[in-house]
Point group: C3
Chain length 341, copies 3
């Protein structure tokens, strides 16, 4: 789709400096853009590329607009403006509707006529799917799953029985929603399964990355609130609750019954223990380990630094002596005090 | 299913204080239970909710039974008793038998007549499946896979050629059993594949969580013994052996040829190096890093604490000075000794 | 397949000490080998098993050949020689060609006549697949995906639109190539999706382990170069570039826009932050955390040691005092200097 720059400006509530009629077809980086492409400046690390860019236009803040030698689309916040423009240029809404002949849909489902169910899907009895939703190939929807409107399940996704998904949800391949939580009771040395009779509730506008798993609750539900964005290969255990608009990067794990607040930003490879509570507006940097609740908003971290292996060996072994070292310092301080005294 | 409380007591070898005829239909938490529901008290953190519960009955130990204002089902160990009762109330054994018309089953398989093979499954030649096993939709069983009786493969699972699974195994969606181990031989700077000609053996009563991977052995087999329970997104590398009744929480990884003993409890996000040996009855807490064998049973840990980011920065950088700090303490101690002397 | 030992020697450019006509059918470990089997000695830890082995032959370096009591196949480098021999003995090239009747292949694809597309695959329009490639059951290939020759996609793999794969690529079950990268722009407190309009390029001779995910680029492509080998459950984020012949063990994560050099060896459970650069020939040991670029080749590590839980508790808490401890040491040094002065 080709659109005039002024049309894009209108779409994002910005204004044009330069030629509002120039036609934009694609997005590109400042460095590699060519005619017909629009780029953007958000990370000032790339400001050096602004002068040489061959983009037809650049989405830019007022502050830097004068440094733009090509057409400028000036906005308050270039990143979401870029996102909206790219969405406009690239979204080709599928016109697919109906049920592919190879899909298996059991009786007793309520599926809106505008829904698409792709090849080799399996939809168990009691499933409901609202208008505009697209179920890609190879997906499995268990009994009594409900899915809201305008969702996209891309491919090879498993949504287990009684999971309830809101509207405008995007699930990437390999996602598993509502598998049993990890519940085992020890019966004289042998583990017996604790049935997981809760379900999963997912709010509106949630995106979940490839191969991420969200387990069903033990008795009550696991809950992912509106606007949550989860990256790939994340584990959300049973009875976790993730608050509105919280984002979480790849390979992070949240153990059972923990609650994450709203508007949190959890980095990648973070491990969060079970039965904890994380306040709203908490940022946890990548690879952190969270063994206690976080009661106050702020930025938190753990992890140790990368070192050349031979140096690391020396420091690594000293970790075991930390407590002893602290005590020896205390002794030294006392002795010195005595000497001085 | 509705059952009288005395029937449930009989099922778990407990006794009733109160009305043994009251009918129980579902489980619930103490806090949210209502009439017809049974709850339980195992975590004393929730004891405060005992008095106000509207549950029809509570599974409880003798010690706390007198504090229960509703009907009490008294048992020695409430957690497994709860598990057994929930299993009784919720299990609806599928009556499905046979092979769905969309499943592809190659000739040369031995499949018991009571087995169910769901839609869009693919079963290669030489596969054997014993009585009562359910293969859910979209599963792939490679050549010469054997699966015991009363197993459940939920959906979208891949079991690669020659894997051998025991009885009463439960696999959650996205599980991959018997993919090639990671074997690469360096041939003058280029990596060439080491064929993985071993297989995977999984014992009886094993449960494996969503998207967990268990690799096949390089020459001999990777082995998961009876009663092992693995959570989601776990990696079990080639030639690992996991001993009986060991449990492992999500996102843990065990590198090649390591042996984990029996009755171990491995937390989530634990990394276990290759060619190690972990003794029986070892507990390793979440996020630990295991670079050496653990020869003695006990509880082990590693990891560093979460801190506000600005404080972490200061301590993080000091990690690189640990060895130097230890040496400086030693020097100080000597100098002080000299001074005193 | 049974082959005479001298044939195998020829295949790997080695020579036989002993009976070159003895027939070899399988590989085995030194310990468990029997007649008709060939073993190898690479890890000297197993040298003690050399004398008692019942293998018909052992692949061995010149240095240790005299210690071999059975037939020896002498080579410069036993590990790749073993890999080549095992490949020769075990490879049964599938003779399958064509498209399984249950596969759904949309019009507008270019698929070589020698390609096999297995049951329940879904191939969207515009896909091209070159000679000799095998697409196993349940795979999904999105629009305009291109796949080179002699690749194997084992089963239940998702390759999203416009991904471009080279020749001789091996993908294990559950792999997801080209799912959207994790791009979210904050628009007054609400996250809006940044369309991921780049793709994924994968070079030749790449192997990718089970349930690993490689995200598509935001604007330009995510790139995995020739000869890269990725283990299971790895996350490669958008716009990452992984250099030639780099290997990466399981559960490692590389955040967005980071560049890994050639011939690197990245251990398992490593976390690499975004926008970093790792030089060529860098080894990073398992569980390391990489928060800064690594400019020089070498071996690097981080992580803290495993300890009995009670000792760990004491040292763990001291981590928060590290900076203070360092300062106190400095004060002590000054005071001592004053005392001495």
């Amino acid at each position: 789709m080709k659109l005039p720059l002024k049309k894009l400006a209108e779409h994002v509530g910005g204004y044009v400096i330069g030629d509002g009629d120039c036609l934009i077809e694609r997005v590109a980086t400042l460095k590699n853009a060519s005619a017909g492409e629009i780029s953007f400046l958000t990370n000032l690390k790339y400001k050096g590329e602004l002068q040489a860019t061959r983009a037809s236009a650049v989405i830019i803040s007022e502050k830097h607009a004068t440094e733009c030698l090509t057409n400028a689309l000036v906005v308050t916040n270039p990143h979401p403006a870029y996102a909206k423009i790219a969405t406009l240029l690239y979204t080709e809404k599928t016109s697919l509707q109906g049920i592919h002949p190879t899909a298996v849909v059991e009786p007793g489902c309520e599926i809106d006529a505008s829904v698409w169910i792709g090849p080799h899907c399996v939809v168990e009895t009691g499933v409901s799917i609202s208008a505009g939703t697209v179920i890609g190939p190879g997906c499995y929807l268990g009994k009594h799953v409900s899915i809201g409107k305008d969702c996209e399940l891309t491919a090879n996704i498993s949504v287990m029985h009684h999971s309830r998904l809101g509207d405008r949800i995007l699930l990437h391949p390999g996602v598993v929603i509502g598998a049993d939580g990890f519940g085992q009771a020890n019966d004289n040395g042998k583990w017996i399964k604790v049935p997981q009779v809760g379900a999963v509730q997912i709010g509106n506008d949630v995106e979940i990355g490839a191969n991420t798993t969200v387990d069903r609750g033990t008795i009550e539900d696991t809950i992912v609130e509106d606007g949550v964005k989860l990256d790939n290969l994340i584990q959300i255990a049973h009875n976790v609750r993730i608050g509105k608009n919280t984002v979480m990067a790849a390979c992070t794990a949240v153990a059972g019954s923990s609650t994450i607040g709203e508007n949190c930003a959890i980095g990648g490879c973070v491990a969060i223990s079970g039965h904890l509570s994380i306040a709203d507006n908490v940022t946890i940097t990548g690879r952190s380990t969270v063994l206690q609740s976080v009661r106050t908003s702020g930025v938190y971290s753990s992890s140790t630094p990368l070192e050349p292996n031979n140096l690391w060996h020396k420091n690594h072994i000293r970790f075991k002596q930390l407590d002893e070292m602290a005590k020896r310092i205390k002794v030294l301080e006392k002795e010195l005090e005595n000497l001085r005294g």
